[in-house]
Each structure stands twice: as structure tokens, then as C-alpha cells.
């Protein structure tokens, strides 16, 4: 019904006002398996067919059950798998100028000033299947500024932009201690809270004004981000690790101020707070360090290596994702981060390692209406993989970003890929 109405409207417009926008030819992918990473926990479709056109996915389902538009270009991928483009919520490679550490709290600074779209490092990430990143300031100060959600594909800033502000970057762990004058965690938390209180009061004044109560507040560029946070249009991504630091993050950012926030890093002995993060709805985006090595004396563990993802999952946390902190771990190794999570105990029975680099970060960043899964209506950010991406021997061979084929290395990896010795 809606479709018919839209068609009628389109006809009307084309007849009376504008020339009809030329519709692209639809493209169809046939794959042995689709990891769809569905919001509802749907996992895979065997013998899958996916139709996309004009940069969007039109349909996905079992081959034979999906209607294929007439004249569609068919890509038969044989034994290969398809999956949604991957998302990294902690990346520093989209440009220059990582840390403006003049002030201790800088909520007004915007990473968007620094972006060099589709630079060589982004391109490498894209080739490996990382199609969306959150480009954020570093952790040299307690509030580094505003991140930007970007596609890694070709084009200018406007083409790449998914959302600005992508997040407010807060840093509560060790790095900002270096900022100066011997400050430690207590003082850092005090300054973060002070800034958040100012920001919240500012946002509330604007809300009141928009309701017709009170005078128009004076614009404060440094505090405008809090109007976005208050309206839940963006989130706080917080550099936090160690039990006591994560506890402060949870208590302050979500408990006290009620903002949407997620743990970024969550390393060392953070995971025993998994229950509290879950209670407050705070997701855990783990990395680049995701193993706890037997060396840490403060946290005895019988000489074994423990995985952060294992710990968070063991405690029942439903939203666990992975990051690279690129270039700390190269952008192109995002899937390796989740694969190593599996090695160190993370249960991957239901492709949690793939969900942790696709739909989980998409939901956490509030961009799951566009990316993170293979579903009708979403951006056609699609990867062709030689097999299960949780196994690092398998690699991404073809990448589409918003329906544009930006990489195809089939055949360039030697006959090796499909003809390798089986054992």
C-alpha cells in the first residue's frame, strides 16, 4: 500500500515537476551463506540471495524465495559468504591532529576538523571490510571532544559522513593523568562531573526555552554537545579500564547523569562489573587490549591468560563489541580482535564474534537503522568473505560501500584460495 502510494507520488513528481531519477540496475548476490547479524538475533541464511540497488539493500532471503528484479546483474559467489560491513567505534586514523590537550575538559572540540576522507589507512581498513568507523579524539585529556561517524569508502567528507557528533569522547583511565600537575583519578572524575553538570544545566535551559518557558539561553559552543546527549541523539564513548575506573564511569555517566554511554576498552579487571554495566544498559566495546595476562599482580588468576570478552560474556552481558583503537591495532585487523576474543574464551556459537563487529556497535552508536546487518532498507555495505570471518585465514575479497563496489580481489590471491591443499 505504502509502496503504491510512493509510486503514485513519484509518478506525479515525474510528470509535473522533475525528470524521473534514473534508477540503477539492481544487483543480486548469491552466496553459500549470509551472516545477516539481525537485530533480533537472527543469525544466518544458507544458500542466500541478496538484492541491492541505489545504495540500499532491497531484499534478502533464501535463494529462490527472493524476488529478483528483471535485468538484475547477478554475482554468483559460489562457496563464499556474505556479511554486513564492519564497524569500529574506536579509531584515530581518519585524519590528523589526535589530541588538543590545552584544557583538561574540551567538550566543544570537534574531530571533524581533522578528517582526511578515504586516506590510505582508511582505505586499508575498507579493503579488509571495515566500512564504518567512529573517529574520535585521543585520551590525552579527560574530555577529548566530539567524534564523527564516517564511512571509510571513497568520496569527500559529505559522502563519508554518517553522523556528527558521533560521540563525546571521555577518558577516565590512565592516559589523561599525563595531562599535568600530578592529577589522579579522584581529581579527574571531579573535573568530568563538574563539566557534565554545567552541560546538563545548559541543555535543560534550552529544553525549557523550547517548551516556551524561560529566556533564550546564550549559545555556548563548548556545551552544545550536551543538548545532543540530553536528546539521546549521540552517546558518550568512554576510555575506561580497571575495576575502579569502570565503576566510576558507570556511576557517573549513566547512573548520575543518565546519558547513553558505552565502555570503550574495558581491559584488565573490568569484567567483574559486567553485571552493573548490564543493569545500566551500558555496552562493552572491548579492545585493543582484550586479554588479561597473568602478570598483573593486583588481580590473581592462577597463571592463565583471561579474555575480557570471555569475562563480560560469562557474567551474562548481552552487548559485547570489539575495537582496534587504530592505529594501536591496525584498522584492517578489527575482525582479528574478535577472533582473538574467541580464542580467549568468548563463546562464538551464535556468531557473537561477528555480531560484535557489526550489529552490536551499530546499535550502541544508534546507527543500526543504516548499518550493522543485512536487512532490507539498510545501506548496501556488503562484504564477500572466503568463509567464516571468525577464522583469520579467511579474508574479505569484495567490498561494496553503499552499493558501490570499492574492492574486488577475487583471483588476485592466486588460485590458492579455492584450490588450496585440503587436509
Amino acid at each position: 500500500m505504502r509502496g503504491a502510494a510512493r509510486t503514485a507520488l513519484a509518478l506525479l513528481i515525474s510528470a509535473w515537476a522533475l525528470p524521473a531519477p534514473a534508477q540503477e540496475t539492481a544487483q543480486v548476490l548469491y552466496a553459500q551463506k549470509a551472516l545477516i547479524c539481525g537485530v533480533e538475533g537472527d543469525e544466518t541464511i544458507n544458500r542466500a540471495a541478496l538484492v541491492f540497488r541505489d545504495g540500499r539493500i532491497e531484499a534478502i532471503g533464501r535463494r529462490g524465495e527472493v524476488e529478483v528484479p528483471e535485468g538484475a546483474v547477478v554475482h554468483d559467489l559460489g562457496a563464499r559468504w556474505i556479511m554486513p560491513g564492519m564497524i569500529d567505534l574506536h579509531s584515530h586514523i581518519a585524519g590528523s591532529g589526535l589530541n588538543d590537550t590545552v584544557f583538561q575538559c574540551n567538550p566543544g572540540l570537534r574531530a571533524s576538523s581533522n578528517i582526511i576522507p578515504h586516506n590510505p589507512r582508511m582505505k586499508l581498513g575498507m579493503l579488509a571490510g571495515v566500512t564504518t568507523i567512529l573517529f574520535i579524539p585521543g585520551s590525552g585529556s579527560n574530555i577529548g571532544g566530539q567524534g564523527v561517524l564516517l564511512k571509510t569508502g571513497p568520496g569527500g567528507y559529505e559522502d563519508a559522513l554518517v553522523r556528527a557528533p558521533g560521540s563525546l569522547k571521555i577518558a577516565q583511565g590512565d592516559n589523561p593523568k599525563r595531562w599535568g600537575y600530578g592529577m589522579q583519578r579522584t581529581l579527574m572524575n571531579h573535573h568530568i562531573r563538574t563539566t557534565l553538570r554545567k552541560g546538563k544545566a545548559y541543555a535543560k535551559r534550552w529544553e525549557a526555552y523550547e517548551r516556551g518557558e524561560g529566556e533564550r539561553p546564550e549559545r555556548r559552543l563548548d556545551l552544545d554537545i550536551f543538548r545532543e546527549l540530553e536528546a539521546k541523539r549521540t552517546q558518550i564513548s568512554t576510555h575506561t579500564q580497571y575495576y575502579q575506573v569502570v565503576l566510576a564511569s558507570l556511576n557517573i555517566l549513566t547512573g548520575e547523569f543518565g546519558y547513553d554511554a558505552y565502555i570503550d576498552h574495558g581491559s584488565f579487571d573490568s569484567w567483574p562489573l559486567s553485571w552493573k554495566a548490564e543493569e545500566l544498559g551500558v555496552a562493552a566495546i572491548l579492545g585493543p587490549r582484550e586479554v588479561l595476562w597473568p602478570r598483573l599482580n593486583t588481580y590473581p588468576k592462577d597463571g592463565r591468560v583471561e579474555g575480557s570478552a570471555w569475562g563480560f560474556q560469562k557474567e551474562g552481558h548481552p552487548r559485547i563489541g570489539f575495537n582496534t583503537d587504530a592505529p594501536v591495532v591496525p584498522q584492517e585487523e578489527l575482525p582479528l580482535q574478535s577472533a582473538m576474543g574467541v580464542r580467549y574464551g568468548f563463546d562464538n556459537t551464535h556468531f557473537a564474534a561477528v555480531r560484535g563487529v557489526t550489529i552490536v556497535p551499530a546499535e550502541v552508536a544508534g546507527i543500526d537503522h543504516r548499518v550493522g546487518s543485512l536487512a532490507a532498507g539498510k545501506d548496501a555495505d556488503i562484504l564477500v568473505v572466503t568463509g567464516d570471518p571468525s577464522d583469520p585465514r579467511h579474508a574479505v575479497e569484495v567490498v561494496w560501500v553503499e552499493g558501490e563496489m570499492v574492492s574486488d580481489v577475487r583471483g588476485e590471491r592466486g588460485e590458492g584460495r579455492e584450490g588450496v591443499r585440503q587436509w
Binding site: G303, V305, N348, D391, R393, R421
Partner: protein, 397 residues
């Protein structure tokens, strides 16, 4: 629980009196024929392998271990490691620029924490070498990653082979001489000491400082050479294989070193690649080059991998193979690069690197493909004695 684990270990280690037979789904022998037995059996007697092949009747009185879901592979061999002291301590004596008299074995702490982790990931034989702070930093110690035992019980060769460093790191050394050390200078320093060792042997002079180096110069001991970049790789190969006829193995060979691969393949110089197995910047061809895959494809003999542990953690040795496969290498050949190739290139294949009759019973049981990150190492035997049991230890891999 501990007592129970102890009992279990005792039960499935082969005692001298009777043998142990391990039956499993698949045995990757890594022998010259690339034999795979599925299902198959490995027999262990007196610490050595006495049979590898299809399933057959086990002699009376033996212990039969039926693991019908598991895979067996020889323990992995890493030639470039620095975990013998339990950290990076004691790995670089940087007083002189060449140190042919130094030996790494006094720094060895058997069964240290890092060695135990190595064992639990299926790595059973290590060459623990000095660092690359000087041009010739001394002789490495060859040892097994047993999780207990004395120095004598874990060490195979006190003097396992020489470590030379010819590129990058030793250039930083100013040392007592206080000079800036670049490639030409490093080349001179190395040829100077090599010439002295050759001269000592020729003239019958007894010089304790040159004794082991003399053996290297006469192929009686192998040498592992830290080198990188295309010019470094080709220089190193020319010196140690053309000018001097040594049993040399090029270690690292990183950055655009792979561009020299066809030359050194022609000269027959083996490459022990890692910890960096990919290159983007130095190769300047606009691609992310899987450098390991490039070496192997160029036909370098006995291509093997390393971790340079703890640069890459020793327990992630297998991942070097997985990542090299990811970037274009043949996955099966990467298993050889972790086992028989390092063993052969360093003259160790008589005892380790494959599952063959007469070799040390260094056997690893996996619950799947050894190169897959999701696979777990379940049990490890070294010299026929069980050193690691995942269920008893509750380790993750």
C-alpha cells in the same frame, strides 16, 4: 583436584616399561610426503615415537588413549625467541659490538611463566637467543618447553646456534666506542670477526672467544641472522651464504625484504620470517603485502615463521601462520612453516618438527585445525611426557 590431575597426567604419559598409543581423528605428520592419517595413531615408547600411521592393535599392557574427535600435530618449533629468562631481562649484553664468546644459556630459567604459556599453545621447542642490540650477540640455547624440570632436563643444546644482527637495531648502538654504526660498518665488523675465526682454525690457534664461531664458519653450527629490507636481506645472504659457506637462516626479512626473495631462493638461503609478516609502507606498491606469502611463493627453501617472542607472545606462534595464510599464503604450508621447516633449516629435524618414527615424542592434540583461532590445544607431550592438559589446567587455548 590437583591430585586427580596429577594422576591423570601419570596415566597418559608413557612410562619406560610400557608404551602409550594415541588414537585420534586426524594426524598431520608434516613428514616429507605430507602424510595425513585420518583416523590415525601415534605410539610413544621411551620418550620417542615408535609408530605413526593408521589405527592398529596396541601391544598388551600399553595405555590406549582414544581421542576420536581430535587432531594431532608435531610440537611447533620457534627459532627466534627471547623468553628463556622469563622476560626481556638478560637478553642483550651490549658491551662490545661483536660477542662471539657469549652464550644465552646462563639466562635460562626452565619452565618459567612464559615457557609454560608457550607449551600450553603447542610450542614445544625453542631457540632462546640474545637480542639484536649488537652485531653478533652470542649463541642461543636450544630447549624444550617442559613445564617442570631442571636445566639439564629441558636443554637440548647449550650452544644451539649463533645470533647475528645486521640491520636496524644494532645501528642504534654507540657503545663504548661511541661511533654511529651503519650498514657498511656493520658489514666490516662482522667480516672482521669472521675472518679472525677462519684464521684461528687455519693456523691452529686456540682462542676460546672464537671457538664456537669457528664451528659456524665451518657449518658445524647454524647461524640465525636478524636482517630486514631488500638491501639488508640480499647483503646478509651474500655474506653468509656466498662469501662464507655457512648454515645460515635469514630471520625477520621484514618490510620490502621479500623483493629480494627470488635472489636468495636461487642461493638456497632459508627464511625464518616474522614477527612482522605484512608490509604496506616500505614496499611502495600501493598494496598491503603479505610478506610471508611473497617469500613462500618465490620458492625460498624451508620458509618458516617466528614470533620474536615476546614481541609477539609465544602463545600466538600459530597465529603467525594464520595471518600469513590470511594475506595470501597456503594454509597447509604455513603449518609446515611452524614445524618441520624451522627444524630442517636449523639442523634439528633429526629429532623434532614432524611425527615420524624415532623422533622425540613432542605431540600436540588439538580439538580442530591447529591454524584456526577457535581451536584449542588440548594436550601436549614433550619427550613422551604429558606437560599440559587443558581440562586439568582450565586454560583457554
Amino acid at each position: 583436584m590437583v591430585a586427580l590431575a596429577g594422576l591423570l597426567c601419570a596415566a597418559i604419559s608413557a612410562s619406560p616399561a610400557e608404551g602409550l598409543a594415541i588414537q585420534c581423528a586426524k594426524i598431520l605428520t608434516m613428514n616429507a610426503e605430507d602424510a595425513v592419517h585420518a583416523p590415525g595413531m601415534v605410539w610413544i615408547e621411551d620418550g620417542a615415537i615408535s609408530y605413526v600411521g593408521g589405527v592398529r592393535d596396541v601391544p598388551a599392557g600399553w595405555t590406549l588413549l582414544e581421542e576420536d574427535e581430535m587432531w594431532a600435530m608435531p610440537g611447533m618449533v620457534d627459532l627466534h625467541t627471547h623468553i628463556h629468562s622469563g622476560g626481556f631481562a638478560d637478553t642483550n649484553d651490549m658491551v662490545h659490538s661483536v660477542n662471539p664468546e657469549l652464550r644465552a644459556h646462563p639466562a635460562l630459567r626452565p619452565a618459567n611463566r612464559l615457557v609454560k604459556l608457550a607449551c600450553s599453545s603447542g610450542v614445544t621447542c625453542l631457540l632462546g637467543i640474545p637480542g639484536s642490540g649488537t652485531n653478533m650477540s652470542g649463541f642461543g640455547v636450544l630447549y624444550k618447553t617442559k613445564t617442570s624440570g631442571s636445566f639439564e632436563e629441558v636443554v637440548w643444546k647449550r650452544v644451539g646456534g649463533l645470533k647475528v644482527a645486521q640491520d636496524s637495531n644494532p645501528a642504534r648502538r654507540a657503545g663504548t666506542e661511541g661511533w654511529g654504526n651503519c650498514r657498511a660498518s656493520m658489514g666490516w665488523t662482522l667480516e672482521d670477526v669472521a675472518g679472525k675465526a677462519l684464521g684461528a682454525r687455519r693456523e691452529g690457534r686456540k682462542d676460546p672467544a672464537l671457538e664456537s664461531l669457528e664451528k659456524v664458519m665451518h657449518r658445524e653450527l647454524p647461524v640465525l641472522i636478524h636482517t630486514a629490507g631488500s638491501e639488508g636481506v640480499v647483503n646478509t645472504a651474500r655474506m653468509w651464504s656466498r662469501k662464507y659457506d655457512t648454515q645460515c637462516v635469514i630471520s625477520h626479512g621484514s618490510f620490502d625484504g621479500w623483493k629480494a626473495a627470488s635472489a636468495i631462493a636461487e642461493w638456497g638461503v632459508p627464511v625464518n620470517h616474522g614477527p612482522r609478516t605484512m608490509d604496506y609502507f616500505s614496499s611502495r606498491n600501493g598494496r598491503l603485502n603479505g610478506t610471508g606469502a611473497e617469500y613462500d611463493a618465490a620458492g625460498v627453501p624451508l620458509f618458516s615463521l617466528n614470533t620474536d617472542s615476546s614481541v609477539i607472545p609465544q602463545e600466538e606462534f600459530f597465529l603467525q601462520g594464520a595471518m600469513t595464510a590470511r594475506l595470501g599464503g597456503d594454509p597447509y604450508r604455513m603449518l609446515r612453516a611452524l614445524t618441520i621447516h624451522p627444524a630442517e633449516s636449523f639442523g634439528l629435524a633429526e629429532r623434532v618438527g614432524s611425527l615420524e618414527v624415532g623422533k622425540d615424542a613432542d605431540v600436540v592434540l588439538y580439538d580442530g585445525d591447529p591454524l584456526d583461532t577457535r581451536t584449542r590445544v588440548m594436550r601436549v607431550w614433550i619427550d613422551g611426557e604429558m606437560q599440559f592438559d587443558r581440562e586439568a589446567s582450565q586454560a583457554f587455548f
